[in-house]
């Protein structure tokens, strides 16, 4: 990889090499469809030159060092502060730019380096020609540090204390309450990036490599027949991704090839655990479950774009293949395992994606577009009869792995007509066609009509309204018979059910003065599953967003935003395997409101202040109605967050910044609300995982200006 022969001149050879590299991924082909395609023939590019930009050589920027106090008695606060260290914690900051006299430029950045969520980057090269970047970024997700469990992690194993006494139910485990300890569930990701790009006169090549390591623990359900234990499954895995792409362009055309390869490796092949329960049958003292298998994927894509005379054609074809051949675990570890038909899945899924797009201007003010997308998923894995040992306890015959093949096709034709300079209408028709295997329906079709009216009312005010209506139907609904319990014949799974959908959105924006701008929108979606008797029958979504910002003066900005959404879902069910006799209404609501101010250059330009406040509240209320109304319990998350800083310039090159983060957070889930580890007879749970805390973060950062 280090010796990429970018010096070859002949485009043909280049593309062959690019193919051979078989790297690059990100289907972000956006590069190819951007400004480059604009008609620049008449543009006077030389006039765009920045006359005020002074190219100075040498170092610029700042470096800093910080220390903070972080209250992580509940590590969930770490999702906001970036670290779960409780107490004192330090970090480094950098934003350094070195430019040589010859135009060579190096950038060094560090942000909260030392925290789990810190990042750093070194980038060097000649802007506009070539660049090499080396980066690091930490990502963290903190769930809880108060999950109660009697299990200890030991490699792939979750073991109980030596003195553990099993019980038929959680209430009959005599040492349970004495043996539980706090267990932390969090995941940390370290992402390392290496990238290079080179821009020639008529081509551009990019290569990126990313290595990500993940570790931590997450909740896992270890089931043995009807008994289950919540376990802290260890996570130790890594993902490598290599991506390369090369694009060639000339007048009115652009072609490119991009490719990528990724590989996932898991240090754990399995999770296994001692059963805390007395075996229901036989001698099921241990459980074992496969962990995510190692797997690989590669993808190669080709893009082409032609334009001229107001017409443009885009083409994209890509093929990808996903494989995994991780060795199978035995079907059971409790007693002799039935023979497996193969030693591993030898799984392979190939996908083919194709996009064709045309757009063109037919007349003044009138442009049309047409699009065809094809996407195929072909599971080439061998079909075998696999023995089913139900939750490691009893043999229940064999089942053949389903293919779940799928072919999606989409046709979209539309037109945009501009009546006046201030008003245009855009509308179109879209047809989606999906073919499936192994599902209750063989095919689904959806017809969609959409229209958008955009009106610039005045130089200050603009508005648009968009409406979409779609109708989905499909082939005969025949409930799959591969499940061990047959489906209610009246059930229509929501993702396969007939559906009528309406979407409306109205947007109004004001940008009348330099100091004040605002926008607001209201939106509503209505999904009606018009042929469903049992299952999801309707979903209504309504909401609005308002945001505004006001510049009081050169140094003082304030902004505010408000967003609310409601989603009401209705579901019908049956207790007697027939027509519906119970109904569930789930009403979800979310509110997000915030305001912030930013005051610079106070105290003789020595002090900058910032203050942001946000409040978010999401909740879900479910009522089950069968004559009597039975509400589910609480399910919500509510957060007040204050994020403030003050940065004081101590001297010409020295500054001190003070950060204060405060968070008041509460959430609750009726699934475990108020429950102890032994509240459910056949499920050993983590206890109540709800959060309720007030936490502060105080930080001081000293920075030096280069």
């Amino acid at each position: 990889m280090k010796t990429l022969p970018f010096h070859i001149n002949k485009p043909l050879q280049l593309s062959l090499i690019a193919l051979a590299i078989s790297a690059s991924i990100t289907p972000a082909l956006a590069d190819g469809y951007g400004l480059q395609s604009a008609n620049r023939d008449n543009a006077k590019v030389e006039k765009w030159q920045c006359k005020r930009c002074v190219t100075s050589s040498g170092f610029s920027g700042s470096v800093g060092v910080g220390a903070a106090y972080n209250d992580a008695s509940d590590i969930h606060f770490g999702n906001t502060s970036g670290t779960d260290t409780d107490g004192a914690v330090g970090h480094l900051e950098a934003d350094v730019n070195y430019t040589s006299a010859t135009g060579y430029q190096t950038l060094i950045e560090a942000d909260k380096l030392g925290y789990d969520t810190g990042s750093a980057k070194i980038e060097t090269g000649r802007p506009g020609q070539y660049q090499i970047a080396l980066g690091y970024r930490g990502l963290a997700n903190y769930d809880t540090n108060a999950a109660l469990s009697p299990y200890r992690n030991s490699g792939d194993q979750l073991v109980l204390p030596d003195s553990w006494q099993t019980g038929a139910t959680t209430g009959q485990m005599p040492t349970l309450n004495a043996d539980v300890t706090d267990t932390t569930l969090k995941t940390l990701r370290d992402r390392f990036l290496l990238g290079a790009d080179y821009k020639g006169s008529f081509y551009k090549a990019t290569i990126n490599y990313q290595h990500e390591e993940r570790q931590g623990k997450r909740s896992f359900s270890g089931n043995l027949l009807t008994n289950s234990a919540m376990l802290a499954q260890p996570i130790d895995d890594s993902t490598d991704e290599l991506a390369a792409k090369i694009y060639f362009n000339g007048k009115g055309w652009l072609i490119g090839i991009d490719s990528s390869f990724s590989q996932y490796k898991n240090d754990h092949q399995a999770i296994s655990w001692n059963s805390a329960f007395t075996p229901t049958f036989g001698a099921a003292y241990e459980g074992q479950s496969a962990a995510s298998p190692d797997n690989k994927a590669y993808r190669v894509g080709a893009n082409a774009q032609l334009s001229g005379n107001g017409h443009q054609v885009l083409m994209n074809l890509s093929v990808a293949s996903f494989t995994q051949d991780q060795a199978f675990l035995p079907a059971t570890i409790n007693g002799p395992s039935p023979a497996l038909p193969a030693s591993n899945l030898d799984g392979q899924v190939d996908t083919t994606d194709m996009k064709l797009k045309y757009s063109g201007r037919l007349a003044r003010g009138l442009s049309v577009r047409a699009r065809y997308d094809y996407s195929d998923r072909d599971n080439k894995t061998t079909l075998n009869p696999y023995p089913q040992v139900i939750t490691d306890s009893y043999y229940a015959g064999t089942a053949v792995n389903p293919e779940y093949d799928r072919t999606k096709q989409l046709v979209d034709v539309g037109a945009k007509y501009r009546f006046t300079r201030s008003m245009y209408i855009d509308g179109g028709y879209r047809y989606d066609h999906n073919d499936y295997s192994d599902l209750d329906r063989d095919s689904l079709q959806q017809n969609t009509l959409y229209a958008k009216l955009n009106y610039r009312i005045s130089p200050a005010w603009s508005a648009w309204i968009k409406a979409t209506a779609s109708d989905r139907t499909g082939s005969a609904y025949n409930a799959v018979t591969t499940t061990s319990s047959p489906s209610n014949p009246y059930l229509r799974k929501s993702y396969l059910a007939d559906r009528e959908r309406q979407e409306y959105k109205l947007n109004v924006a004001y940008s009348g003065s330099e100091a004040f701008s605002a926008s607001a929108n209201v939106h509503a979606n209505f999904d009606d599953y018009d042929d469903t008797q049992v299952g999801l029958t309707s979903v209504d979504i309504q909401g609005y967003d308002i945001s505004a910002s006001y510049r009081v003066n050169e140094d003082f900005n304030i902004n505010a935003y408000l967003n609310q959404d409601w989603r009401d879902s209705k579901q019908a069910g049956s207790t007697n395997f027939g027509l519906p006799n119970w109904y569930a209404n789930t009403d979800e609501q979310s509110t997000l409101v915030g305001a912030g101010l930013d005051y610079q250059n106070l105290f003789d330009s020595k002090l900058n202040l910032g203050l942001d406040y946000s409040y978010s509240d999401g909740q879900s209320d479910t009522d089950v109605i069968q004559g009597l109304t039975s509400p589910y319990g609480d399910y919500f998350a509510e957060k007040h967050n204050i994020n403030a800083f003050a940065k004081y310039q101590l001297a010409e090159k020295m500054a001190l910044r003070f950060d204060w983060i405060f968070e008041n957070y509460k959430d609750s889930d009726w699934l475990n609300q108020g429950l102890a580890v032994d509240s459910i007879p056949n499920v050993l749970i983590f206890g109540d995982l709800n959060h309720d805390y007030n936490a502060h973060y105080f930080g001081l950062t000293f920075s030096y200006q280069l």
Partner: protein
């Protein structure tokens, strides 16, 4: 049944209005209020139909408005008494995950001379009853808005002021206060299913005769002993003496799509319901079944398909579907019958080419032979061979010949008819035939019989009195096995259990001491045999049609006169009782009855000559079509 009643009411409204118009002519007389048709009150009442119009609430106190008519849709006026029971149903899973729906008793109130609440006879067939108070809080039960409610109205068992007797009638009405139709129900079983064996079940002084009534009181909130909650109580009462396999839940939980919860037996397994038959299980203690504290887990393993399969006859049917025995010819030579047998697999339409002694799945296959159906057989000791142990005397390719010798063939009966009865057991593993060396599991064949003359097989033979179908109405389809695997109650048992069996001369009830089929069956079901002290006939023993079939002319075979083949009852002291008297006196045991029979020509313990002299004149009065026809004096349904 209830639906029919209600639809009759709907039909009766226009009819009733027409009657009013006709009755009133141009007169200004009292016309019925709209929706409350009047008409002349009923004078003859064979049945009472109760239709509930509505349940109205005033300050939480319910008033039930209903109409009572007779079978002619004529209003019944002047009902002297009634009982009203109110209960509330909690839906499935409401009391805890996995729990069955559950009735909660509120109250039972009665009206006769005095009333707990307020009773109004509107004198036009319409009645109203206002309960003594609000349901809410009665019996410490909260009335829950939206819950399914039930009121049972019980009337009858007494008479109108003019003396017209009123049949005992229970009628339930389910409703909820939010809208008309209840959002959920608990319709599991029709009373007709119970009465297929029990004929006319009624309890508590015969007042309560519908399942829908029973459950309003037999629930946790009314009965103090949990064993008396309806499901455990009924299951428990059927554990002993049940005439058919208990494993077949659908004997009682009949598949009936008009009953919304008819599949609850498979879909809602609970400790209470399942444990009342599987009595060796203590769920909370983990004895006989892994520990379960509540019902929330049951369906995790015992889903409906599992439960249906575990209680299903499907495996038995599948095994039996793989084997068929057919007697293709029979010839009597002297006292030896030579018969040819073909064994086949109906599932594959293939003939088993080997004889039974070579087929490794045949555990037992026997053929019994007896002669002389015109005299109810010539011996009680039918001759038999065991095909699984007997090499055929000839044959190949699936058709094999055997001989059964030693039949009793009196010279005067050489032109008669004999019977060959087949029985057996097959070794099986789940739903497949299996090698007997590898399994202990056997499946009983459905026994059968075949008539034959001296020359050939015969389609006709012994008279048919009961059929496997009539027996099966309580005992299941050939599921009652005696002596191992004999289950052809229609024609097999009689091959040995015939008139050659003798009664004990010293017995109080001679019929209860002989194993002759007719007497054996009558006295068994009547519970009068000492060796079967626990027999508790579930129905009305006088309903001959429960067991007797009809002859070709459509006449019940219980009718007199008796078939000429019926012989007198033989005693072990050499005496005989004439045939009709022997049968009737099995149940009608009193001295009065016997002296009546004697006066009419019956012979008790006389000589064989007297007992067969034909002096019985029973049929004169009790014969078919006569004044006191046996068929009309018995409560035959």
């Amino acid at each position: 049944m209830k639906l029919i009643t209600q639809s009759r009411l709907h039909k009766s409204i226009p009819l009733g209005l027409i009657a009013i118009l006709a009755g009133c002519g141009g007169d200004d007389g009292n016309s019925g209020n709209p929706g409350e048709p009047g008409g002349p009150p009923a004078t003859e009442i064979a049945e009472l139909n109760i239709a509930v119009n509505d349940v109205a609430f005033d300050a939480g106190i319910a008033t039930i408005n209903y109409r009572i008519t007779n079978e002619q849709d004529e209003p019944v006026v002047g009902i002297p008494s009634a009982t009203y029971i109110a209960a509330q149903l909690l839906p499935m899973g409401y009391t805890n995950a996995g729990n069955a729906s559950q009735w909660q008793y509120f109250t039972s109130e009665s009206c006769s001379n005095v009333c707990d609440g307020e009773f109004i006879d509107h004198k036009n067939g319409q009645y109203s009853y206002t309960f003594s108070g609000a349901f809410d809080g009665m019996n410490d039960i909260s009335f829950m808005s939206g819950a399914t409610q039930r009121v049972v109205i019980k009337v009858g068992g007494d008479a109108l002021p003019d003396g017209t007797a009123l049949p005992m009638t229970n009628q339930h009405h389910d409703w909820q206060d939010k809208g008309s139709a209840p959002a959920y129900t608990r319709n599991l079983i029709e009373m007709d299913t119970c009465n297929s064996c029990h004929n006319d079940l009624a309890f508590h002084g015969s007042k309560y005769n519908e399942v829908e009534t029973c459950v309003t009181c037999h629930n946790l909130d009314k009965v103090s002993n949990p064993d008396n909650v309806f499901a455990p109580m009924v299951h428990g009462k059927h554990l002993v003496g049940f005439p058919v396999s208990l494993a077949d839940c659908q004997t009682c939980h009949a598949a009936d799509e008009t009953l919304t919860e008819n599949m609850n037996w498979a879909r809602v397994p609970t400790m209470e319901a399942c444990g009342s038959c599987h009595t060796n299980i203590d769920f909370p203690a983990g004895q006989g079944h892994p520990t379960q504290q509540d019902n929330s887990n049951c369906v995790a393993c015992h889903n409906a398909e599992w439960t249906m399969s575990a209680h299903s006859q499907a495996d038995t049917d599948a095994v039996l579907g793989q084997f068929n025995v057919e007697i293709v010819s029979a010839v009597l030579t002297g006292t030896t019958v030579e018969l040819a047998v073909r064994l086949s697999n109906p599932a594959t339409n293939e003939v088993y080419t080997e004889s039974a002694d070579k087929l490794n799945f045949v555990n037992d296959l026997r053929i019994y032979a007896n002669w002389g159906v015109s005299v109810d057989y010539t011996t009680r000791s039918a001759r038999s061979i065991k095909l699984q142990q007997t090499a055929p005397i000839s044959g190949s390719d699936g058709l094999f010949t055997y001989q059964i010798s030693g039949l009793t063939v009196p010279s005067e009966l050489t032109a008669g008819i004999g019977t060959l009865a087949i029985q057996g057991k097959l070794c099986s593993d789940d739903d497949m035939l299996a090698n007997c060396a590898e399994t202990d599991n056997t499946t009983n064949l459905k026994s059968s019989h075949q008539f034959f003359s001296a020359m050939a097989l015969s389609d006709t033979g012994r008279r048919v009195v009961v059929t496997n179908e009539t027996c099966g109405s309580c005992h299941g389809d050939q599921q009652l096995n005696y002596h191992g695997s004999r289950n052809d109650l229609e024609g097999q048992c009689q091959v040995c259990h015939n008139r050659n069996m003798q009664a004990e001369a010293s017995a109080d009830n001679p019929a209860a001491s002989t194993a002759d089929y007719k007497h054996l069956v009558h006295t068994l079901h009547a519970g009068s045999r000492e060796s079967y002290p626990d027999i508790n006939y579930p129905g009305n023993i006088g309903n001959c049609a429960q067991c007797h079939t009809e002859d070709d002319a459509g006449v019940l075979t219980a009718a007199l006169p008796l078939d000429s083949a019926v012989q007198p009852l033989a005693f072990d002291d050499g005496t005989f009782t004439s045939p009709t008297a022997a049968i009737c006196s099995a149940c009608h045991t009193s001295d009065t009855s016997m002296s009546h029979m004697t006066q009419q020509g019956a012979v008790f313990k006389g000589s064989e000559a007297d007992a067969t002299a034909g002096t019985e004149s029973c049929s004169t009065c009790h014969g078919q079509g006569a004044t006191y026809d046996v068929l009309s004096v018995h409560p035959i349904k």
